[in-house]
Symmetry: C2
Subunit: 111 residues, 2 copies
């Protein structure tokens, strides 16, 4: 049944990316590296670049090209108003979802 966390990422990863961009504008490779530090969310370029394109087409992210101090130019992403409200919507949805799963599968903690 494949890697366990692969499935968990679905539907969550995109909002983690939105949240990272919310803090400050970021570029693709930076996002890949930062996510690499999170064992549960590590995702390669082949995941992130298509995801960023989708978010751009959905109107949740906008991008601008910025020259790098050393190396090829970078595409920086920033949150749009729609992206911000989508993220807000996810935050409340996530809390509710997380509680449901906690209750059903039971975490061992006393509910």
């Amino acid at each position: 049944m494949g890697e366990l966390s692969t499935g968990l990422r679905r539907g969550t990863l995109e909002f983690c990316v939105l949240a990272m961009v919310e803090v400050e504008d970021r570029y693709g490779n930076e996002i890949v590296r930062r996510l690499g530090d999170e064992p549960n969310l590590a995702a390669g370029e082949g995941t992130i670049y298509p995801l960023l394109s989708r978010l751009r087409r959905s109107g949740w992210l906008e991008s601008k090209w910025v020259e790098s101090p050393s190396g090829p130019p970078r595409r920086y992403y920033g949150l749009t108003a729609a992206g911000r409200s989508a993220l807000e919507h996810f935050r409340s949805e996530w809390v509710s979802f997380r509680q449901t799963v906690d209750r059903l599968v039971g975490t061992g903690e006393t509910a």
Copy 2:
């Protein structure tokens, strides 16, 4: 970008089903109905039946046919030893994953 919770279910739904079966043996239609009560996890037959087949083929569930007091026979599912340990594994993975997402997207609660 489709229904929000559709993506969230991915990778979680199967373990919620395992957890339901852990409590006591259950049959397909019962599982569909019970999940229907959970707004975040509601899934139709077209989702659950293939999922149960996968879990059976993975060796996490076993099944036996039982006559219904009224209606067609039911296929009851029970947890195997492998299924039980997969569920245990998920429980710890889930806690870790949940915390990572909470930290990254921020729930508004004070960390």
